[in-house]
């Protein structure tokens, strides 16, 4: 019964808790010792990470993509179990059996992706899976709504417990996620990239909430790529790199340069550019392309045989630009030229007809028909060229499939294998094959190696280079992984908040410059 206490009433009296925590502020509340987490067969996501977090501090966690931040947080939230190492909370070594256990012990993760039920009320969402009940087994609405009202008042929310979640803005939905944490008695609240989808004003509301929590003696772990936020919010910063703990520093004693140095600090590997290919004519030229609220005045050119990398944080407008070029998202202004001819693209069908192909970010949802076989997926967009009076010529179809199977080295027992049964890398090759079959002029790859294991990653990278140099395709690679962008691109565009914030050729680019270009507004920086 004791763990259901919060069902009956919530005691939120900030004044009381401040008094009690004032004296203990600065005391270590959470101590991680030698946490190691492996994902079979060969990925070591966390390698002997030790870390301590103090009461009432905002502890920022930084590192590149793949550095292990999210894995560490998932271990803390009970989603993953560490292979070895100990977690010590308030002086006691604890074991976390699943997310609910972690929540009850006071370790709360605010998810980056919202996981709310749109058609239920705010209160029902906040207590989802944990609704207060009364005899015999009915929802105790009175307790539910009074408790939620208290929580919302504490967060200074401007919406009601009885509002439908579907009527809320994104920022409000984030508040609901945070409110979920307060149902339990939080000791540590973990924010994973909380501002990625928030506007500036919404951000400040969030920061206020974080500062309030901090005042109440709650420890905050804050994961972000954005340097400005980290420096304005945090007390201490811990850097992770390639799954290893690097260092913890006081925020006052460091600056951006030192921090980026610590984050990168490894040799450049994975570079698969053997030689720069001969660049051909301009295949794609984009002039002042804008999509209201997403990106503005995007200008760039792309030549035949060139790989152009586009790098930026989540929400910087990378995917949106790709979707606009492919006709999924309407442009509000600007012009697109293909082979120096102005084209008007309003639908994917237009884009395909004009020779633009998009390998989407999410291959399972947007790229493949998982229940169909390899051959059918590859010929899917060119069936009109393979028929004789409406009847498909299987021989021609198979010939096309065989061509791309050998060209892209797709590993599958036979053409009739369902695509859903292939590995991620091979699935991605099938998507690429599908688009190469349409003979595109411009090939856009959005996060080409997302969810693909390390070995297949480099294979895909080599393939991209080969397609540019030998195939003469003009390729735009969008990625949030720096080694990938640096490894495959001839030229890199850095995006920040929907604007191009820097352009680097392969010779002049450094990781340092790139990190700065995606984290700070150039116009506010004197270069």
């Amino acid at each position: 019964m004791s763990n259901l206490d919060h069902n009956q009433s919530i005691d939120i009296e900030p004044t009381e808790s401040i008094e009690s925590t004032e004296s203990t502020k600065g005391q270590v509340i959470l101590r991680l010792e030698n946490i190691t987490k492996c994902f079979p067969p060969s990925v070591i996501a966390l390698d002997n990470v030790s870390l301590n977090i103090k009461k009432g501090e905002v502890h920022a966690l930084v590192g590149e993509n793949g550095a292990g931040k999210s894995t560490l947080m998932k271990v803390l939230a009970g989603i993953h179990q560490a292979n070895s190492g100990t977690i010590e909370l308030d002086g006691n070594i604890i074991k976390l059996n699943g997310p609910m256990d972690a929540k009850k012990q006071g370790l709360l993760l605010i998810h980056q992706e919202l996981s709310l039920v749109a058609d239920m009320t705010v209160a029902e969402n906040i207590y989802l899976g944990n609704l207060p009940k009364r005899w015999p087994n009915i929802v105790n609405n009175k307790v539910l709504y009074t408790n939620v009202d208290k929580i919302l008042a504490r967060l200074k929310c401007n919406f009601n417990a009885k509002d439908k979640v579907s009527s809320l803005s994104i920022a409000m939905k984030h508040m609901v996620e945070i409110a979920r944490a307060l149902v339990f008695t939080p000791k540590i609240v973990i924010f994973d990239e909380p501002t990625a989808s928030l506007t500036d004003t919404e951000k400040f509301v969030l920061f206020d909430v974080i500062n309030d929590l901090k005042k109440d003696g709650v420890a905050i772990v804050y994961i972000s790529h954005r340097m400005d936020e980290i420096f304005s919010l945090s007390d201490r910063i811990t850097v992770l790199r390639d799954g290893c703990y690097r260092d913890t520093v006081n925020t006052q004693e460091t600056d951006e340069d030192k921090l980026t140095q610590m984050m990168i600090g490894r040799s450049l590997d994975g570079n698969c550019k053997s030689a720069m290919g001969e660049l051909g004519d301009i295949a794609l030229e984009v002039k002042d392309l804008s999509c209201h609220g997403r990106f503005e005045n995007i200008n760039f050119t792309l030549r035949k045989g060139e790989v152009l990398g586009m790098y930026g944080l989540v929400g910087a407008g990378r995917t949106e630009i790709a979707e606009t070029l492919f006709g999924i998202r309407p442009q509000t202004s600007g012009q697109i030229f293909l082979d120096s001819e102005l084209v008007n693209i309003t639908s994917p069908a237009d884009a395909v007809a004009n020779g633009i192909a998009l390998v989407p970010e999410n291959r399972k949802e947007q790229g493949l028909v998982l229940g169909m076989n390899c051959r059918d997926n590859i010929t899917m967009s060119i069936l009109n060229k393979l028929d004789h009076m409406g009847v498909l010529r299987h021989k021609d179809e198979l010939a096309i499939y065989n061509k791309y199977e050998s060209e892209l080295a797709i590993k599958t027992p036979s053409w009739s294998q369902k695509v859903g049964n292939l590995s991620g890398g091979n699935q991605q090759k099938v998507v690429i094959g599908k688009w190469l079959a349409t003979h595109p002029k411009v090939l856009i790859l959005d996060e080409p190696t997302r969810g693909i294991d390390v070995g297949s990653k480099s294979e895909i990278h080599k393939l991209i280079r080969k397609l540019a140099q030998q195939g003469g395709y003009a390729i735009l690679v969008i990625s949030s992984e720096m080694p990938e962008v640096l490894g495959v691109s001839d030229r890199i565009l850095a995006l920040f908040d929907g604007k191009i914030n820097g352009e680097f050729t392969d010779q002049e680019v450094t990781e340092d410059k790139l990190v700065k270009a995606i984290s700070f507004d150039n116009s506010k920086m004197n270069k």
Binding site: F326, I328, P348, A349, V352, A353, L358, P360, E365, Q366, G367, L368, V369, L370, G371, M372, D376, M380, S381, L383, N384, L386, D387, G390, V391, L392, H394, G420, N421, K434
Partner: protein
């Protein structure tokens, strides 16, 4: 040497057999039923009885063929039963004014038009096909009652009712119609662009749009084909009876859906085949016929059919889950 070749051949044959039973367990079920009924009833295993089964199932069968297309497409059509009634009434009633063949053609056209209309509404409004065709089912049934004024029609032209009981080369015409259209629809699904796109749209709509497939027309055509086959079922049914009543075809949509689902088509779309649907139709026909011969009371037949539907799909799911594990995703 040759023995190893034989062995390989044998194992690959076994594999093929395994694959067929895994992908379409309904045929295994049919085999078991045929064996079971043959031993328990002396009248069952007889060529004439098999012809009989085909004739008895021809109405549901034709509807199920069209419904397979719509369901692979990721939609559903509940209005087929009402279309059966409308086309039957038109085809019988109008014979007096226009002659037999024009009346039949008007009946068939009504099915195509209403089917296409269903598809058009689903496409243009984005309302779920279940709701659209539920509305159509109620509305079209109402139209039938308006048209018939609750009367039944009888065919005065004996050629019409003769067609229902005629045979070509010893095979009942209605069975030939069912098998012929099954082959035709199978051909459309397996060998044409339209068929391939039908799978793609049902399997992943977003990917299909991005691949430049015209999703809307694809949906409309499938609904139109489904409407046509339902109307054809209405014509064949009324020719069997030599009459048409406004209540004709009630619950037929449910039997047809049962047959399609028994045949392995997924309600979520993207998966299915005519071979499977044909199996589902035959399975229902054999069960009804066999239990009839064993003189099982007709209400118990319904109970048994319900149980079998759930059981077959339960095994289908188990088998699929094991298959997925075997492949090891």
């Amino acid at each position: 040497m040759s023995s190893t070749v034989k062995k390989i051949k044998k194992t690959s044959m076994l594999k093929k057999l395994k694959k067929i039973t895994f992908e379409q367990p309904i045929w295994l079920f049919i085999l078991l039923c045929v064996i079971g009924f043959s031993f328990s009833s002396e009248y069952f295993f007889d060529l004439n009885n098999f012809k009989n089964i085909l004739v008895q199932t021809s109405t549901i069968g034709l509807i199920a063929l069209g419904l397979t297309l719509v369901m692979i497409n990721g939609n559903i059509d509940l209005s087929v039963g009402a279309i059966v009634a409308l086309s039957a009434c038109l085809a019988v009633d109008l014979q007096a004014d226009f002659g037999m063949f024009p009346a039949i053609i008007i009946g068939l056209i009504s099915g195509v038009v209403l089917g296409a209309l269903n598809g058009l509404i689903v496409w243009k409004t984005g309302v779920d096909a279940f709701i659209v065709t539920l509305g159509a089912m109620i509305g079209i049934r109402g139209l039938v009652f308006v048209y018939t004024e609750e009367q039944s029609f009888f065919a005065n032209d004996f050629a019409f009712s003769d067609m229902g009981s005629s045979s070509i080369a010893g095979i009942p015409t209605l069975a030939l119609i069912l098998v012929g259209f099954a082959i035709l629809v199978h051909f459309i699904l397996a060998y044409t662009i339209h068929g391939r796109n039908t799978y793609a749209v049902g399997g992943n709509r977003q990917a299909s749009i991005d691949a430049g497939i015209r999703v809307g027309p694809n949906i409309v055509i499938n609904f139109a084909i489904c409407g046509f086959l339902a109307a054809l079922a209405g014509v064949t049914l009324s020719s069997q009876m030599g009459a048409a009543t406004p209540n004709l075809g009630r619950d037929f949509e449910l039997w047809a859906i049962t047959a399609v689902v028994l045949g392995g088509t997924k309600l979520t779309g993207g998966v299915g085949s005519i071979v499977g649907t044909f199996g589902g139709v035959i399975a229902i026909g054999i069960l009804r016929n066999g239990m009839n011969l064993l003189q099982v009371p007709s209400f118990y037949v319904l109970v048994i059919m319900g149980v079998i539907l759930i059981t077959v799909l339960f095994f289908d799911r188990q088998v699929n889950m094991r298959l997925e594990k075997e492949v090891g995703r």
